[in-house]
Symmetry: C2
Subunit: 325 residues, 2 copies
């Protein structure tokens, strides 16, 4: 399979790394809206201008689109699905039905497959939610994120006056996780499930008390959570908080039995040193599935809900039956 | 969907309970090789003789076969796949390729779908293995079972002279689980991963030392493990060990990054009050998928690897996109 990467940020690098290691894939190159001469890839993969994509339609089997959900993917995924099998990691949960409809129209028209919202949430966490719900229809599902860096929350802090840099960790509250595991079927507020830990570099002379207040009262991002703010130097931030770890758990607690007398939990947990590299790895597996679905004649928008798990795997059916089933 | 259950042991009861609660299913009845007059169902579902199946072909959309892997399923699943969409929970790992081939031939000839090896292992644990391998191709997977009752090991103890009853718990060793979670990529012997805890009721006058020795040295079942044997009265066994809890974890530890510099773990854990009722619940979800696959024109043998997860769910595509993705 010949793979192209559109966009070369952290996730694009993750896809590059995963594609280069996949025995059944070849990386054609990276496509960027920046000047290609200014972009150099980690593996030496060639860099092309976004506008060259049209001319290279015959050279690419699947495009992995590594753009942002806010402004890139809503137009880019439908546009590219008009000519290519595509994968994206669209993650604005509330707008997924709209995005799906737009991409579906384009991919149906072109006869290509577009798998949207592939990553770990949405993505593998979505699979954990659907599979655990199917096995335990009478129950409640809970998603805990972290401990990990939320780039959206870090960016929100950086936009405050007097803040030079910041890193925000989302932290699940252990007592909440325990209640779910103990089949208590709790009803949580946002505050009950997660803490927000902020490490902030303030400008010289900035009013730290004001910055702390601005963070803790920020609507949507922080006001509904217990938030801690720790001021650090840029050196400390760079030294102790430069990574992008993440993870979390989807837990479903549900009952079985004639009188619902049996409690059960299903738990799916990720612990990731690098969020973007793991996301890139899942996008790469999804690219394999898109190619195979299209080869068998399918088209239109899909999600991982529509993908037979075998299509994600680089192993043969014989290997899967013998070693993984 | 009109569902029939073949065989009425613990798993058959689990399927009965799950089908009765599924809004999109109707239980036609239970089919047994015993005298139907001697079998009464928990929900009052009608009981038919196994031989009546042929005549009821038009009344059933999917048969869930709840027989044993040793002697029932090897002939029963191919025979019934010759006329029906079927589900089984065949779990003799080493013989899965052979069973798959036999069932596939029958289901292709009849134009029906047969999903084999549906349960939690093989089944949902298999899904955890394939999905985590696809996301982290460079890594190692480990399966821990328990703490839970192994019926095969309990039966093996009961066959020893002087044993009236027994219950065996398979217990994962916490230090081994921790090594995997810590990305140490350990190489384990059987003894490193699991303990075996046995609760045994001895006949009056039986030589307990001999029984304990016979258990601990039993080839395949116990000799490769550290095993504890505790003698209890029948009353104690009935009071404290009458349930069939089980569970366990599939953990994959794998690296991402250009220089494989990032460690990651994916963990899928089940904690089940009742093994057979959970198995019955998964078989029921698989029956839904078999019906849908056959409706769209597919036939032949399948495993959960071949099933788009959405097909297992009772929810509509709109609900899935809005609430689970």
């Amino acid at each position: 399979m010949r793979i192209g990467i559109v966009g070369y940020g952290n996730i694009g690098r993750g896809v590059e790394s995963a594609v280069n290691k996949a025995p059944d894939m070849k990386l054609v190159g990276v496509f960027t809206r920046r000047d290609p001469a200014t972009v150099s890839t980690l593996s030496g993969a060639p860099v092309f201008a976004y506008d060259q994509l049209k001319a290279m339609k015959q050279d690419i089997d699947v495009l992995v689109i590594c753009g942002g959900s806010a402004t890139d993917l809503p137009w880019m995924t439908p546009e590219l699905a008009g000519s290519f099998n595509v994968i994206d990691s669209f993650d604005t949960h509330a707008k997924i039905p709209e995005h799906f409809a737009n991409v579906n129209a384009a991919a149906f028209a072109s006869g290509k497959v577009a798998i949207i919202s592939c990553g770990w949430d949405p993505g593998y966490f979505s699979l954990a939610r659907i599979l655990s719900d199917a096995a335990l229809p009478d129950g409640d599902s809970y998603t805990f994120w972290g401990r990990g860096v939320s780039q959206g929350h870090s960016d929100a802090i950086r936009r405050i006056d007097g803040v030079l840099d910041a890193r925000q960790y989302t932290v699940p509250i252990p007592a909440a996780v325990e209640k779910v595991r103990n089949n208590e079927h709790p009803t949580f507020t946002a505050r009950d499930m997660h803490l927000r830990e902020c490490y902030v570099v303030a400008a010289e002379g900035a009013d730290k008390a004001e910055i702390e207040k601005a963070i803790k009262t920020m609507p949507n991002y922080f006001d509904e959570y217990d938030t801690t703010v720790t001021f650090v130097t840029q050196e400390e931030l760079d030294k102790n908080h430069s990574g992008l770890p993440h993870g979390g758990s989807v837990i479903r607690s549900g009952r079985t039995g004639n009188d619902m007398e049996f409690d059960n939990t299903i738990e799916f947990t990720l612990d990731l040193d690098s969020n973007p590299y793991f996301t890139g790895s899942i996008l790469t597996a999804a690219a394999r599935a898109a190619f195979r679905l299209n080869e068998e004649g399918q088209c239109g928008a899909k999600t991982l809900f529509d993908v037979p798990p075998a299509y994600l795997s680089q192993h043969t059916r014989e290997e899967l039956l013998a070693h993984m089933l």
